[in-house]
């Protein structure tokens, strides 16, 4: 039986597509779902915290606030606020990319996925990360970085036209805002309340206020340097849980032997690539082509949440190195979030597939001692706060750069001064903090809005990658070609997504991503060839040839960013 894990597997990465289906299943199933028992009888499943645990969590949260607020002294203009003054070192970028990608619910959801489907669930952090991050580091990041842009839509605007920029920016802002509100409520209500019994309103507002304060004051600098601490806390908590679980099982070899001995239902639990005709969501063809080649690359290269950190690098080397270092750090994530789920198969044999999402909460309750338990929950809060701050910062940047500035330009106004941009950025951050907190419960309980917006966002992944890739690699791609590729590619996604029985998998989002990418590429090429080529001046420094082979363009680009 499907569970909340698919819904909770909500890192804003390649699984956004999956979430859209999982949410619908979750809403349909929640009446009889084990993870969300009726509130009256859940108290016996609540995890009690020792006062040491509470002290650890409080110290962690106050520490984050102090560190983040300290960074406010380095913010003097818009570039400091949005791009950390372009002074970030590679190691901070790497840490920040990884921690921004992991939500608090991943610890619960991925472990549940591993409990149910086996090690194939870890593909989203292996196949779905490293090759894509290498491609992002060496093909996409240098272009974004050298062009001196603040956002991905801004790059698309320069390469294609402001229509593409505005559409992309506006959809991103609306969808990310709603998703943030929903995520907050889900984490506060469905995770912290269900596991700890804490009042969801208190959890929500404390988290939002602390995170909002340091994001408001310190901008990207505060976000990145709190991310560094948060990832360390996550690693200590997550790897501590894994170490204790493996100790109880008897080591990794014993884990394999014991799981495979449980019978045919577990025969594929250590098989990372499943057959194409599997009815589950992770067939190997979808993993390699849909995830590895399209969704992962699109996420790592076209997601403002990720790319913004590299745009704030102190040098191009740091931008690329940060992305690569992030890939290296990310390879450990499945160990923390997936392997505990496999351990639970052995340690909690009575849990059952229908309650797989309770694997990590149950392991915490049974095996973690006081102190470590607090550290584990500090890790969950770290994941939540890093996700909030990253989203706030990226949404604010796009709102200022790609929505408000464009509207002002179209209505005859001039560009904002750096000081005005900074004030505007802070005002919008405060606005999003307050409105997100106020609307979280209503949006979190409204599945229709969430499902619709998730669908819209997820359907952009393949077409967005297609126009990004062609825009960089092919000089002949035109503004009309890019616009047609984006719009018709999204339309293609809707058709493939909603036409039943086209693919063997129950959730064919990986296949839809691949074919929409191919379709969007074809449309962009055909329309571009039928329209007038862009001028040399417009594409100079924005396409592969001019960056790699043209020495004059290289000098011009270096001058632009120095």
């Amino acid at each position: 039986m499907p569970g909340i894990l698919e819904f909770l597997y909500v890192q804003p990465s390649t699984l956004i597509w999956y979430r859209r289906f999982a949410w619908r299943r979750f809403i349909g199933d929640k009446a009889d779902h084990g993870f969300l028992p009726i509130r009256g009888d859940f108290m016996e499943q609540v995890i009690g915290l020792h006062y040491i645990d509470v002290v650890i969590i409080v110290v962690y949260m106050i520490g984050s606030l102090v560190l983040g607020s300290f960074c406010a002294r380095y913010v003097g203009n818009a570039e400091d606020f949005f791009l950390a003054g372009r002074a970030l070192p590679f190691w901070a970028i790497g840490f920040s990319i990884v921690v921004s990608d992991i939500g608090a619910t991943d610890f619960v959801a991925v472990a549940g996925a591993a409990y149910r489907n086996g090690i194939s669930a870890a593909n989203f952090d292996w196949m779905g990360s490293m090759p894509a991050m290498v491609i992002a580091a060496f093909i996409f990041v240098p272009y974004f970085w050298r062009s001196g842009v603040f956002t991905i839509p801004e790059f698309l605007g320069r390469r294609y036209n402001t229509g593409v920029q505005f559409i992309n920016g506006l959809i991103w802002v609306v969808v990310q805002f709603v998703m943030l509100a929903v995520m907050l409520w889900i984490t506060a209500d469905k995770l912290m309340y269900t596991i700890l019994g804490w009042d969801p309103h208190w959890t929500l507002w404390i988290t939002v206020i602390i995170t909002g304060c340091y994001t408001f004051g310190g901008g990207l600098t505060a976000v990145v340097f709190t991310d560094v601490v948060q990832l360390i806390v996550m690693y200590v908590g997550g790897l501590g849980l894994l170490a204790l679980c493996l100790w109880e099982v008897g080591g990794f070899g014993a884990l394999q032997t014991k799981v495979l001995a449980l019978g045919p239902a577990y025969a594929n639990h250590f098989n990372i690539l499943l057959p194409n005709d599997t009815t589950g969501p992770f067939p190997w063809t979808g993993i390699v082509f849909g995830l590895g080649l399209v969704m992962a690359v699109s996420y790592m290269s076209g997601n403002q949440l990720i790319v913004q950190r590299t745009l704030g690098a102190r040098s191009e080397w740091d931008a690329k190195g940060g992305m690569l270092f992030g890939g290296f750090l990310k390879s450990f994530i499945p160990l923390m979030v997936a392997l505990p789920g496999l351990c639970a198969v052995v340690l909690l044999p009575d849990l059952g597939m229908e309650n797989a999402d309770r694997a990590v909460p149950s392991l915490i309750r049974v095996y973690l001692p006081a102190g470590l338990r607090g550290l584990m929950f500090a890790a969950l809060f770290a994941a939540l706060m890093s996700h909030i701050s990253a989203t706030l910062n990226s949404v604010t940047t796009i709102t200022v750069t790609d929505v408000i500035s464009l509207i002002r330009k179209w209505t005859g106004g001039g560009a904002f001064s750096p000081k005005t941009s900074l004030n505007l950025g802070r005002a919008i951050t405060a606005f999003f903090v307050i409105t997100t907190g106020l609307s979280a419960e209503a949006l979190g309980n409204s599945d229709q809005i969430y499902v619709f917006l998730q669908t819209v966002l997820s359907l952009f992944q393949g077409p967005l990658l297609a126009i990004l890739l062609l825009g960089i690699m092919w000089r002949r791609a035109t503004g009309w070609g890019g616009l047609a590729g984006l719009v018709l590619g999204v339309a293609c996604c809707f058709v493939l997504n909603y036409t039943p029985d086209l693919f063997p998998s129950e959730f064919p989002f990986l296949f839809v991503a691949w074919w929409s990418f191919v379709f969007s590429m074809a449309v962009t090429v055909i329309v571009s060839l039928c329209t007038r080529p862009e001028s040399d001046e417009k594409v100079r420094g924005l396409v592969w040839d001019s960056v790699v082979k043209d020495d004059d363009a290289q000098e011009a680009l270096q001058g632009r960013v120095s």
């Binding site: 292996w126 290498v134 491609i135 060496f138 005709d277 690569l324 390879s331 036409t499 039943p500 063997p504």
Partner: protein, 87 residues
């Protein structure tokens, strides 16, 4: 979205089923049937190939001063081992 008993999503699914399924099924079903017969060792070859191609692009195709080849290839190696181990 549902509105007054009318479900737009279900209506759209019905529309796609009637209009697009007859066109798209003859394209995708043969592909699905062909892929259903392809599994190991090709799945592992494709998966590892993705990593190797990424390494190849970085290590061979891109200008040396543009990348740090040694470290890139080094940090990707553990991933390749993962796919050999769990094949």
């Amino acid at each position: 979205m549902a509105a007054g008993g009318f479900n737009l999503e279900e209506a759209f699914i019905e529309f796609c089923k009637d209009v697009f399924h007859p066109i798209l099924a003859p394209i995708f079903h043969p592909i699905n049937d062909a892929l259903a017969k392809v599994y190991q060792p090709y799945a592992s070859i494709c998966a590892v190939g993705l990593f190797v191609i990424a390494m190849f692009i970085v290590g061979v195709m891109i200008n040396e001063k543009y990348v740090n080849r040694g470290r890139t290839v080094l940090c990707m190696t553990p991933h390749v081992i993962v796919y050999f181990y769990f094949r």
